[in-house]
Amino acid sequence: MQQFEALAERLLREGVAHRHVRRYIAELRDHAEDAAQAEMRRGLNAQDAEASAFIRLGTLDDLARGMTARGELRAMSARFPKFWGGGLPVLVWIGILVASGFVLAGIVSVLRASGVAPNGGSPFLATLQAPAEAVIMVITRALPVVLGGAALVMALQQRSAMRWPLIGAGVLAATAAAVHATVRFSTTPDTLSSLNLGVGISPETVLRAGVMFAAMLTPLLLQKRFTRPGF
């Protein structure tokens, strides 16, 4: 069985996508078991049957070559390491931030059109204030940590170099920490609700960026969990 672990490590390090490696190894284990059972039906004892099944599977090189030769089985992080590790988490976060702004604006527009808040403001909108602030807090403070951490977990699973995911996490932490988003729903008629997005740097921002970056690095402390054979 160590043969399969060695094969998995080799495939991951050579850039084959984690999901393909995991399934390939599971399929090979199953295959070896089926082959061993067939050998036993032919009269071999269990030990010889297992040995014969492994010989039938081929060498580590034979088993690795077919996977590494196929470009479509390569991980995105191996194909585009700079973009995947360094740029994508930041872009995804910005995309979600912008999309959430449109969603909030859309909610206000719908309420306005439906007559709940016909003149822009309404006491009803006060009920949305706390949930909207919570959503913004999650998007601006928690989501970046999740995205940066996820990029590091994927890099660990894929046995990729950590350089670009670490750069991406750092840029994401700095950007997210510098962003200040506020939402204010108007509760009085003839006044409009507002969503403000600002960027600023202060000692507090730097401290926040540091805390977020440190939180993103948590997967590195659990490295063994994410790099154990078969994970």
Binding site: H20, R23, Y24, A26, E27, L28, D30, H31, E33, D34, A35, A51, S52, I55, R56, L57, G58, T59, D62, L63, A64, R65, G66, M67, A69, R70, E72, L73
Partner: protein
């Protein structure tokens, strides 16, 4: 015990053809596919497992196959079956294979105007 002898590099493209042919009618798992190819070819074609599984994964990535996990006797097997895209690909590969084999046969038997 010597390592099993499998077919050499000139078989490139053939595994996809054989796999798609088998999976165009019913779903099968990897071991079953290897056995079916050996049996159907009278053991003339022995595809290594290092060829079959990567081909299955690649064909699935290309949309030619779809897979599903199915519990069988306490184990979870991955079953594959050809999609409509896979059947179209099979048709193309079969045509290409016939063209090549006709051409090779023509050359081997001494026909004058064999084309590839």
């Amino acid at each position: 015990m010597p390592a099993r002898k499998t077919n050499p590099d000139f078989m490139t493209g053939v595994p996809e053809l054989l796999i798609l042919r088998l999976l165009s009618t019913r779903e099968m798992y990897g071991y079953e596919i290897v056995q079916a190819i050996e049996t159907a070819s009278g053991e003339a074609i022995k595809l290594g497992e290092g060829v079959v599984y990567p081909a299955l994964h690649a064909l699935e990535e290309q949309g030619c196959l779809k897979s599903r996990r199915k519990p069988v006797n306490g184990r979870t097997r991955v079953y594959y079956i050809a999609t409509a895209v896979g059947k179209k690909r099979l048709s193309d590969l079969t045509g290409e294979w016939r063209r090549i084999t006709d051409a090779v046969a023509g050359i081997v038997t001494g026909a004058k105007h064999a084309t590839v």
